[in-house]
Symmetry: none
Subunit: 205 residues, 4 copies
Amino acid sequence: MATQPTPDASRRSEKSRRAIYDAALALVGEVGYPRTTIEGIAARAGVGKQTIYRWWSSKADVLLEAFLDLSEQASRDAGPEYEFAIPDTGDLATDLKAVLRLTVDQLKDPRFEIPSRALAAEGVVNEQLGRVFMTKLLEPSLLLYVDRVRAAQAAGQVRQEVDPRIALELWVSPLAQRWLQYTGPISYEYTDTLVDYALHGIAPR
Amino acid sequence: MATQPTPDASRRSEKSRRAIYDAALALVGEVGYPRTTIEGIAARAGVGKQTIYRWWSSKADVLLEAFLDLSEQASRDAGPEYEFAIPDTGDLATDLKAVLRLTVDQLKDPRFEIPSRALAAEGVVNEQLGRVFMTKLLEPSLLLYVDRVRAAQAAGQVRQEVDPRIALELWVSPLAQRWLQYTGPISYEYTDTLVDYALHGIAPR
Amino acid sequence: MATQPTPDASRRSEKSRRAIYDAALALVGEVGYPRTTIEGIAARAGVGKQTIYRWWSSKADVLLEAFLDLSEQASRDAGPEYEFAIPDTGDLATDLKAVLRLTVDQLKDPRFEIPSRALAAEGVVNEQLGRVFMTKLLEPSLLLYVDRVRAAQAAGQVRQEVDPRIALELWVSPLAQRWLQYTGPISYEYTDTLVDYALHGIAPR
Amino acid sequence: MATQPTPDASRRSEKSRRAIYDAALALVGEVGYPRTTIEGIAARAGVGKQTIYRWWSSKADVLLEAFLDLSEQASRDAGPEYEFAIPDTGDLATDLKAVLRLTVDQLKDPRFEIPSRALAAEGVVNEQLGRVFMTKLLEPSLLLYVDRVRAAQAAGQVRQEVDPRIALELWVSPLAQRWLQYTGPISYEYTDTLVDYALHGIAPR
DNA sequence: TCATAAGCGAGACGGTACGTCTTGTCTTGGG
DNA sequence: CCCAAGACAAGACGTACCGTCTCGCTTATGA
């Protein structure tokens, strides 16, 4: 993410950065990722192209940071500890279903959908970006599930030998794939079902 | 005088089509999807650009057909009914683990990996292509799982009320996501674990 | 003047060439040579930039050909043998003065002045262009003087041992320098004087 | 807060000025005028760009002063009254031929040739610069010729009614044009011939 | 049998965007 | 308050591809 001869970050224009984030997100939302261009972002942000090339290495990179910034902002707006924690009512199924319903809502919020879909797509084909996308955006959310599953193990609601990192994929991945690859519709009923199958399996009990 | 709308398919050059498929797959493998261009495919195939534009609507479209063709070829080579059927030994867990191990191998075969990753990525961002990709490439494989799960239901190995279309996502989606989004390593042990969790859940039995 | 991989001249668009010539001359006239850009020419001509880069190697090259074309056109318009011939009334002084007066008029015609000044300037600093400019534009006119001086030698009006190629510089170069380098005003009186000095010298007769 | 309009010349860094002159002349010599950039001069001189923009208005302006400085230096080095005076042996032809031979040598000295050619070219197209170039560099030399011709008139070697300012163009301009526009080779023999033609004309005596 | 109309290779065309370079202005921190 | 350093908005550079458009050249009927 470093550029050619190491520009001096302390002199960086905060105003330009903000304008670039805003322009990038707006354009992706309006015309889609492929038709969003660096020239377009620069023009919309009222910024020279070089200012973009100085601080980012690619369109994907700009958008990734813009989206990261958007997420952080949303977190801050939502209040300190409140959001992005998984509730622990004592009943794992109930808690997972609740969180997944929120996730369904968020996946359908166009404010997030278009840029995150664009980034996910780019990450599929561009491994470097994919890994950053995973690390910075996905991983933190997944860790919350790991914690919740561990708590459930302590409470005797999940078997001790279960690997939480794999367990969470039983509900996260199906939802992710339906969303990303249009392999099926997304609904509260669907996520509820996923949680049930994940907890109890499909075999006769 | 209408040129584009109705090219006469009966006069189509089979040689050019083959050359285009080969060039497209070769280029995607060598330089990656984004740096594969229609001009490049045409030049490599020794074909005029118009010959590509006459028969396909986009780079993604060319690559999709090329990949479809490659898959069919592979099927034919592998023998008539042999491949792509899920075995039915009577034990669902055993059968699924076996098939998933084959899938793991195939995902790591570069012959398939690069083009299918490229198509999957494009499909994420381009809904129309995504749906074709889903319908033509994914769906047929998924249906095999549906059939196998139905058989298992008939044999009393899976609960009657389970929706096979959702059940299969318990093992297919986690694997797909790890592969597509680099969210974790892929191994036989991992897929075996997925099958176990899917069948019996993570809750105490 | 050849471009990268030898474009096929027979397929060249005459319309585009004309449009480029017109746009180039117009722009040089309106904003001057340094602020005339290839992008500007392309935009004004309604032409892709590549069409310019395909056929010309530089802005100077475009303008040179445009100006050459303009000159040829002017010649054709003026009638076959009529223009650009030096009259031969039998009196060298009279003939030279008449031609130089026409030259003075032409140097002051803005239609010619701006582009030819621009080309001359570029030719000063760019030897390759300078030589083409000399060969294609200046030389033909100078040869007319050579012929006229030779005729005068035959008529006994100029000494036999005089080199016509040098002689003509006695009136052409002073005029050229005043025009190019603003070293002095240009008038009929001035050119008349030049002819007198050139014929009879400045020493007492 | 007015920065540009009135820089305080008394605080000007002499070291920077010298470094800029040296860098400018060196770059023009090495890569030619068009590829000499203000950024390049600043970098080479170890100077901020603003230091150039503060004191000069353009690349041409920098180079003009640098060249002027170089000429003055050369004058000083050559001794007080010695150089740049036209000898007066009593014979105008002899004196002019001698001076022109020195001029020929100087025109071929690369130390002077590249920058002065660059300045001359810029002056052709940029009238303001052209006039400064004329006034500061050309005029002083031409005045020497005016003086010498006047002396010759007093001595009866040149006709009284001859305008010295025009007379000198008979030998200066042809030489200048051959040099600037590559219209012919430059040699001692050539300049000698020019002097002869200028003094006695080309008509039979 | 032979014109005739299609597909084809080639590649010029009008465009758009790329990533780089330079301009002239502005800002920061050091002396 | 000059200076070195360099970020900034602006915009031209020359290149790469896009998708459309002609050009001649097979080639394969169908009149």
